[in-house]
Every structure is written in C-alpha cells, then in structure tokens.
C-alpha cells in the first residue's frame, strides 16, 4: 500500500505502476460525466467534444448553479459506477481515458480493458461530498450543457483524494477479492446464527 500524488494527464507507464490498495491524490484536471452523457455519446453516436487523452473520468453527481457565464458549486459528489460499466472500455480505447473514479467498481470487461490499455479504477468515498466539493477548485468548462446535470464537466482539482486503487492494470479487482472472501465466510456465519447445521 503506497501513496502517490499525481498530476494530470497520466501516461500508460505511470498507470501500470499502480497496484490495488495504493492511495492516489490527484492535482490537475478530471472530467465528470455519467449515465446520460455516455448514452448521448456511445448510443446516440455523438463524438465527445473534448479530448480525454490521459485524463481521469469521474462518475459525477453535480449540483451547480449558473452565475452569468460561470458555473458555481453547490455540492458535487460521486455516483455508483456499475451503471456506466459498458461505456468504460470504449472510453479507454477510443478516447484514451487513463483512470475511472467512482464508487462500487466495474465488471470483468472493464478490468480486462484496464489490463489492455493501462488504466486503473480509483475508488472514492461515497457520501463524502463535502470534502470532494472542497477539493474541486473550479468547474472550468461544461460541454454539452443541454444535458446538465449529466453534461461533461471539466473540474480543476487540488489534492483530490485520497482515492483507493481498487482495480489495476495487472488484473486485480479489490471488490471481487472482498466479495469472494465474504462468500467463503458465509457458511460459518450461517452455522453460528443457526441458519444451517
């Protein structure tokens, strides 16, 4: 379990040096997007209006208000990643995303894409939106604003984290490991609670 402070954009070598349980703190820019954004891109055939090459994607849940041309933060948190699973491999392959930040992880296909392209899944603490909002210094750009609150947000971040490397480019998935251990423990728990003999 090592700790790193990383500046965006990331390169493949850097991402391949990370392992599950490492802690990562990010400075620079990350791009927030979610359900409707990805449906608009991949299912409705619209090219992303911005390059993601080397940048992390955040499964974002933003509450913002518009003041003139600026977007001001009310509260910005993170949503469950599994709903966006099928869009993750093309984000890495076609658009060059190097990390996906979210909660609850992604499935096997996304893990394989991380191995192939050199990327990681970084787990954030769900519900800790106050600290997340504080670490997002500025909403610099909003692309596809008609989709707000599911547009594309370019966030400038400072000391964003610590995030936990939960899926790495070496085929490790911390969520799957924990789930497997839970399944191993269940028979003993059933016996103790007199659910089984």
């Amino acid at each position: 379990m090592a700790s790193y402070t990383l500046n965006t954009p990331f390169d493949e070598k850097l991402m391949r040096s990370l392992h599950v349980r490492d802690l990562v703190t990010i400075n620079g820019h990350i791009f927030g997007m979610r359900d409707k954004t990805m449906i608009h891109c991949f299912d409705k055939g619209n090219e992303l209006p911005v390059s993601l090459d080397g940048f992390p994607i955040l499964h974002t849940a933003p509450s913002l208000k518009k003041a003139g041309d600026r977007w001001e933060k009310i509260i910005i948190g993170t949503t469950t990643s599994t709903r966006m699973d099928r869009f993750s491999p093309p984000l890495m392959e076609k658009y060059g995303a190097r990390a996906i930040i979210g909660k609850s992880g992604l499935y096997q296909g996304s893990l394989e894409a991380m191995q192939r392209f050199g990327a990681c899944y970084l787990a954030i603490v769900g519900g800790a939106a106050a600290i997340e909002t504080t670490q997002i210094e500025e909403v610099e750009e909003v692309y596809w604003p008609q989709l707000h609150p599911e547009a594309i947000y370019k966030f400038r971040v400072k000391d964003f984290g610590p995030l936990i490397v939960a899926m790495d480019s070496h085929g490790n998935n911390l969520y799957a490991d924990v789930r497997a251990k839970v399944q191993e423990k269940l028979p003993e728990i059933y016996r103790k609670c007199k659910i089984s003999e």
Partner: protein, 293 residues
Amino acid sequence: MGKFSYQLVEDVAKELYIRALKILPPDVKEALRRAYERETNPTARTIFETIFKSIELCDTKDMIICQDTGLPIYMVEIGGRFPIDGAKVKAALAEGAKRATLEHPFRGSSLHPVTRDNPQTSIGEGLPIIYWDFNSEADYLDILMIPKGSGSENMSAMKMFTPAEGLRAVKKFIIDTVAASGGNPCPPGIIGVGIGGTSDLVTALAKKAIARPVGSRNPDPSFAAMEEELEEAINSMGSGPMGLGGDITTLAVHIEWAYTHITQNPVAVNTQCWAARRARAKIRADGRVEYGF
C-alpha cells in the same frame, strides 16, 4: 411568543429538510468514531478518516453532507392533547419540501417514473412520503425528516417466506441481502429490518427501523438479542467500508416488528448509508419549535 400555524409547519418542514442534509446526528458521528477505533484494515481506516474530514467540513462550513438529497420522507406523530388538521399538515409538508429545494437551492432528485421528467421540486405524485402516528399523551406535533438517498435505498429488499421456512430463512435473507449489496449502499450504515405484518407493512417497518438513533435497541429482549446477533454476523463478513474490505460492515442492525398472518413469514431490509441523515422538530401550541434528531 407566537402561536401555532400551518405556515409554521411549512417553515419547519423546509428547515428540517435542509438541517437533515447538513447536520449529521450525534449518535451517527459517535457510532462512526467507535467503529473507527475497532477497525484494523488500513484501507478501511483511510475511508473512515476521509469520512471524518468530510463531516468536519459540514460542521464548520455549513455544507451539504451528500449530493444525493434523496426522496423526502416525513414521519409525523400527532399529539392527542394537540389536535390539528392532518390535511393542512400534509399540504404544509409538501410545500416545505419544495421550498427547501428551490430556496436553498439543491438538486431535486425526484421525477415521473415513466416520462422521467424532473420538476426540480422534490415533490410530486405520492411525494413527500408521509408516515402518520399518534401519541395520546403528547401536547405537541413531532416531525422527523429523512432524506433517503438512492445508493442505499436501491439495495433494499423484501421477501414473503412461509411459516415452514421459519426464522432461519428470515435471518439468512437479511445476511445475504447485506452480503450481496457490497459497497453500493455506502457502508457502514444502518441495516433496518422489518419482521411480520403484510408485504407493505413489513417494508414500512424496515424504514422505521433505519429512523431510530444508531445503536438504540428494540425494547423487546428477544428482538434486541436478534439485533445483536445479526450485527455480529454482518460485521464478521469482512465486506467493510465501501465494500473494500474491513472489520466494520454495519454500524447497527435495527429491527421493528408486527403481528402477521398464520400463513405468512415476511421480512424486509432497508439499507441506510453511513451518512444516516435525519432531523426532528417538536412544534408546540404556543409556536415554540425544538429542533433535534
């Protein structure tokens, strides 16, 4: 000193929504601190530390705890010595929830289930959700507000077992529901359990269970013992904070129960996240309002 009015109920309903979103109850904070002391997994300890920093920001900078402002639930207790017009209270709660959303402002999370149109008001057909109860001795109106976020609510489940399947099926269902939910409900939070009643009542009981202060025990010793047994079982799973492994998977198991039919054996689980938000107000006839949890 003023006097009671339905405008006051509306103002309180608005205030309660905002307070619930910003002020984590002291029993929840204390339970998180105690859990941190027991946690030995380094990744899990890092998660707790982030949680504490985020709570600190809410306390010192008046920030909203979680961006998921939830579906608004009001649990109302009407005092027998303080007769009021329930229909007017209902209208005042809806208006209060709407004003909180528009005037604070924050994201309205509720929408039409088919068209998916979101009016950004937090209210609409069937919302806010209101539970009514009565207390013949009370000379006040008691309102408990819970903004229920979707990460945890989506992991809730209900099942009608048969009497022959017994209590063991009920306990297995509770344990399996928690095991399957992993990190989705932002653990460690409260596991609310309903046992008995009908399919609708058992689900409502599970919701009432998550509304209790963390660690409060069911007054019936046999259900209190079951709460302790399930807490220990769930915390021996190793699922941990955010499903990333650890000693603490839940802060507490709360059970609420009711009589059921001779042919039925219902159970429901309502999961609540670590940010177990709630805010309470007691309104008296002279217009005094006491805020709490």
